[in-house]
Symmetry: C2
Subunit: 405 residues, 2 copies
């Protein structure tokens, strides 16, 4: 298969976009990515979305979005893997270009969630769990994560406050991301005293939903060269794995087996290991998920993911910077779009466009997008091929990779 | 890219399976395909489904079904393109194998629609149309097709009774298909006098919904050889195209532009033309769609698709046999599964397993699966490489390609 490069990226701010429809949000990110790539159109369109049938009454988002952006008659389709939908679409676009079937692919992750009242969205999100054997018992999605977190705290002896570092880090980074939803720092005190949602998960353990879209343009790597201020960004590894849909079916509900498997496949494929990863955009839908992802991907021993937060290793200057643009926690979690936000943010880091939260000399980024409570996991490793740009002073200021805000 | 063969197929009967859940139906077809291919598992799973979030409260059907069939930790994802979801999943599986990313793919189209009352399913199906600009006006999916049919009759001077041949042919063929939902012949009189749904579409113009699943195993062609009674079945062409999501946005609502485009791409790819196609499994969700598909794919001039029915050219012994196992009209239309039923039925024809409705010496079959009112169209051409099996008397009786009925 051919090597594939990410030529352009785009995104909308995550928020409550009452003035913009599903298609407008998706189109905005798509056009931003096309503009960033210097292209008028791509050969095909892959859309990642989870909730539009339920929340927007709209299916068939491939044709729907192709129509809106004027990509008439083009191949277009939608992939859905719950909150892993964005990366699922990215992987489909990657395979289409890598196989030679097309010469360019536009991938858009899009979600419009805030036009419905809270209850509906909670029910809609629960469709990521097992309808017959989990949801039927009355458990919501946050409820499932609460059960996992409670068990983890019991098993490994952590207190709730030990998880604060994950949220504090995410919020601190989001302040510098104009596309993030929650651009404010939080203190350990505020973390500990925020409203309880499902014990032990409180408001600041959980990521906020939102409307948003993020997009990327994929092309064969041999058609792209590194330029001043613009390294060639290559997808060096892609893997997808699954676990049981229901948490109760797992041998060990505190181990993200599919995350471990897809990460291992990616490490093998890219010929790298955890120490080589300069930043890791992980799926921090809840603070417990940050700990579990770090453990599954080899950055911490079992039960010790929390320590990376306590030791400051997850900050921009730490051993494994995570949520460098705010993560799900503070950039926001427009579920089907999240996987694409992670990709866009890694590209921004590899290009050196992140200002205050720039990871110094970042050349390898890993993204991990999770559907359900670990049932579908997609991991990607992305690498910048640069000519020592920072040393030459090429990378001076952030590029605008979106139309908004 | 590598040539890809269909090694095994499986299906469940289409019907109201009150005793079987979504996962049971999908699993049944998956196991039937694996058994038919003589395999215990494939490398990955692609699922086509449209309505499960809305009708079954279940998303993430990739991991969901992989879990149920015991394909733990395997890559699995879902594709959705309204009623074109089945073929969208097939094309994704095809690309995964053709690219070399995997060595085998299981593709399952599955839909469980009958657990909800009629009104809910009508609303759910309307998500295939444009929520903002079509559905918002109160138009249902059958309503959109009725507008197209009425205009077609006016424009080209056909009477409602002229469409009878499509339904009569589909029902006649379904009688011999043990997996079909409506196994009874209908008369021209009954066609004309059946209950009106949305003028001019009456009950017998419309395909019935249903629960059902159909599946196929894809492998590299070079790992398969033709054997006695079992030709090597190759996918020689695959193409996907889109049109505007709303019917009113089209220059000509009576021309299926995406069907024409994807068919043309397939003809070019396979090096064949309409006269070479031995059977055509088209998307007869409504009788008008049969006429439009035949025209778009070059089997009839504009406005003359109906004549093929009147002249008997669509029957098993005609120039272009369609709906050879009953089509959507009589086999039934479990929406996200339909595209895979078409593939399974073509494989059965190419293997010579269709008894009374066997198309003699069939070696090239074309399948066309349509999402929405022509917004997403996927076309595939499938070819049998046989060693004159019929002459040698190898093909004597139908193989069982499913566990039920």
């Amino acid at each position: 298969m051919r090597k594939v490069a990410i030529l352009g990226v785009g995104q909308t701010a995550v928020g409550e976009h009452w003035d913009k429809s599903l298609r407008e949000i998706g189109g905005e990110a798509a056009f931003a990515a096309l503009q960033d790539a210097g292209m008028e159109r791509a050969d095909c369109l892959y859309v990642g979305n989870m909730l539009s049938p339920l929340v927007d009454g709209q299916n068939q988002l491939g044709a729907f979005l192709a129509d809106w952006i004027g990509a008439w008659h083009q191949e277009a389709t939608k992939l859905e893997a719950a909150c892993g939908s964005g990366a699922a679409a990215f992987r489909a676009g990657l395979m289409a270009v890598a196989s030679g079937e097309v010469d360019s692919a536009l991938v858009v992750g899009v979600e419009k969630m805030t036009d419905k009242a809270g209850h509906d969205v909670t029910a809609a999100l629960a469709t990521a769990a097992d309808a017959d054997y989990e949801v039927e018992q009355g458990v919501s999605f946050v409820g499932l994560n609460a059960l996992i977190m409670k068990r983890y705290m019991h098993e490994f002896g952590w207190k709730h406050g030990d998880f604060a570092a994950f949220s504090i880090n995410a919020h601190a980074n989001a302040v510098h991301n104009p596309f993030a939803r929650l651009r404010e720092t939080i203190s350990p005190e505020r973390f500990e005293t925020s409203a309880m949602i499902a014990t032990p998960i409180n408001l600041l353990d959980a990521s906020p939903i939102g409307d948003g879209a993020a997009a990327a343009i994929l092309v064969p790597a041999d058609r792209v060269t590194s330029g001043p201020g613009r390294p060639r960004v290559i997808v060096t590894a892609s893997a997808s794995a699954t676990d049981t849909i229901a948490v109760h079916s797992r041998r060990d509900p505190m181990f993200l087996a599919a995350a471990a498997q897809s990460a291992k496949q990616c490490y093998d494929m890219a010929g790298v290991g955890p120490p080589d990863v300069d930043l890791f955009e992980l799926h921090d839908a809840f603070s417990i998920m940050s700990a579990l992802s770090l453990e599954a991907c080899g950055f911490a021993d079992r039960g010790q993911g929390v320590r990376l937060g306590l030791d400051g290793e997850i900050s921009i200057t730490g051993r494994v910077p995570i949520c460098t643009r705010g993560g799900l926690k503070a950039r926001g979690h427009p579920v089907g779009a999240t996987g694409m936000y992670q990709i866009v943010e890694i590209v921004q880091q590899l290009r050196g466009e992140c200002g205050e939260t720039q990871v110094k000399s970042a050349s390898i980024g890993m993204a991990q997008n999770i559907g359900g409570s670990g049932a579908t996991v997609l991991t990607h490793i992305i690498k910048a091929e640069k000519r020592d740009l920072h040393k030459r002073g090429y990378v001076r200021r952030a590029r605008n990779t979106g139309l908004a805000p």
